[in-house]
């Protein structure tokens, strides 16, 4: 290994040693892992990657660990699906789904970032891991942490629905229900992280955790036959995933894995929580915080930490942003299931519905290749579809009753 130089402030460039820290002491900017790309370039190759097991650790030279991978040995390397049925409906030539509805073990892209965060937590010598979350992240820390033998503290707003809580509780973490909203929970967790020597994956481990998102981008390039797509559409909550997908593309170019890179990066948000999309559409630098109101709860971050950087990537690559309504999200979830057999969570509906708008407005050209990032499984947010699916056909247990219904179905076709 030995490819990591240290941590570096994204704002003022001050350098720090590798430690569980996340904020620049001087200017409060976020810290990011800095690599020695020259030494990586000499140590990585397509052949070397291809020989490795099909999980996210096959790109380990570009991940911030010192030793061997310890957590998430079956995470990542999800399918890249050529979506020809959907492409026909949308009138485009070349469309792909990066299908993170099936990441091991908890069916969202959070399994990628948590795999890296908990491996790093082991390297730092922590025995307790923690997070503030309302869903996918809680599930992933609970599950990965169980397998890795960590004590786990999961902080959630107390108003969270019972169905979402069960999917964390089954792994038996310490689930702390805080009397407050998600922002209150986040603030409290920052205080706790200052006082207790725990690995908070999205606070003091964040510089390492966030790097895990790059594996989604590495996989896209490998699965496209070692080339970058013309367009990639990424859902935005904090904006971190979008910046890291772009970083992964650039890194593969910088270490010589690919030669050409001219991908346009597009951001997708729900209209009820679209601070990043609004800034991009209005050509503003400043991200104006909002109070979220959308069924896409996994994207509902009103004051996105990486919003500025996400907007910058979109601008720099010649991409754009779209935002979509709740009904558009539901229609897109159903369209994806109907055409490609993939059941996405609400965030997936946001991404597809935004893609449709981008195609219609000509921002995404019909003869270009486009990858849509589907980041979580619809089985987790079924309540969003309540009353929006068709109903079963009820019959008596007789052939006659069945054939009566069959007649009606045939008439309807």
């Amino acid at each position: 290994m030995g490819h990591i130089k240290g941590l570096k402030c994204r704002e003022c460039g001050r350098e720090y040693a590798i430690e569980p820290i996340y904020v620049c002491e001087f200017c409060f900017g976020p810290l990011e892992v800095a690599y020695d790309y020259k030494s990586i370039a000499g140590d990585i190759s397509r052949k070397k990657i291809e020989k490795r097991d099909k999980n996210l650790w096959r790109y380990r030279e570009l991940l911030p660990i010192d030793g061997e991978p310890q957590v998430g040995l079956d995470s990542g390397f999800t399918p890249l699906i050529r979506a020809d049925n959907l492409a026909r409906v949308l009138g485009v030539d070349e469309l792909y789904l990066k299908d993170d509805t099936v990441v091991h073990p908890t069916l969202s892209f959070k399994d990628r970032v948590v795999a890296i965060a908990l491996t790093k937590a082991k390297e730092f010598g922590f025995d307790t891991v923690a997070c503030a979350s309302t869903g996918n992240l809680a599930h992933s820390v609970s599950a990965h942490g169980a397998k890795a033998g960590f004590k786990r503290f999961i902080f959630i707003p107390s108003t969270l629905e019972a169905s979402k809580i069960v999917a964390s509780l089954v792994y038996e973490p310490n689930l702390i229900a805080v009397d407050g909203n998600y922002d209150d929970v986040n603030r409290l967790c920052s205080e706790i992280a200052n006082k207790y020597k725990w690995a908070f994956v999205n606070i003091n481990i964040r510089p390492f955790y966030a790097e895990g998102s790059k594996t989604l981008g590495f996989e896209v390039i490998e699965q496209l036959g070692w080339k970058a797509p013309d367009n990639v559409v990424v859902p935005c909550a904090s904006g971190s995933l979008l910046t890291k997908v772009w970083k992964s593309f650039k890194e593969f170019r910088d270490v010589g894995i690919i030669k050409d890179l001219s991908t346009k990066v597009f951001a997708a948000q729900a209209t009820g929580c679209s601070p990043i999309a609004a800034a991009i559409k209005q050509g503003r630098d400043v991200i104006r915080p909002v109070k979220p109101d959308t069924i896409a709860k996994s994207l509902a971050i009103g004051n996105p930490a990486d919003g500025f950087y996400a907007a910058q990537v979109v601008r720099d690559t010649g991409g754009y942003a779209e935002d979509v309504s709740d009904p558009e999200i539901i229609d897109a979830i159903k369209l994806l299931a109907r055409t490609e057999g993939v059941f996405a969570e609400t965030a997936g509906g946001v991404t597809l519905a935004s893609t449709i708008k981008l195609i219609q407005s000509g921002r995404i050209k019909r003869d270009e290749s486009t990858v849509i990032c589907i980041t979580g499984n619809g089985l987790k947010t079924q309540e969003a579809l309540q009353g929006h699916t068709s109903s079963p056909h009820h019959i008596k247990p007789s052939l006659a009753s069945f054939e009566e219904v069959l007649e009606n179905i045939k008439k309807g076709e």
Partner: protein, 92 residues
């Protein structure tokens, strides 16, 4: 009466441990300059080239100055100004 300025923990080393200090009225930028003469070094921590740093939020009477008049926002006697580092984080 002066302007009340709340100082975040990481900057209290510069204010001899004080959580709240007093500043003079004017614009936010003028306030920062006046703070710096009382507490040398504080200005470069929260601003750069006349702009408030991106990961520092400043509130005047609980309102984020980005939604008022940014660095030109006026502060008067009796106003409360909070300096709050944005905490990187999030991800549901």
């Amino acid at each position: 009466m002066a302007v009340k300025v709340r100082i975040p923990t990481p900057l209290q080393r510069l204010t001899q441990g004080r959580e709240e200090v007093e500043g003079v009225p004017g614009t936010v930028m003028e306030l920062i300059t006046s703070l710096d003469s009382a507490f040398p070094g504080i200005a470069e921590r929260i601003s750069e080239n006349g702009k408030v740093r991106r990961f520092v939020n400043i509130y005047v009477n609980e309102e984020d100055i980005r939604f008022l008049n940014a660095e030109e926002t006026a502060v008067k006697d009796g106003d409360e100004v909070s300096i709050v580092p944005a905490i990187a984080g999030g991800g549901r």
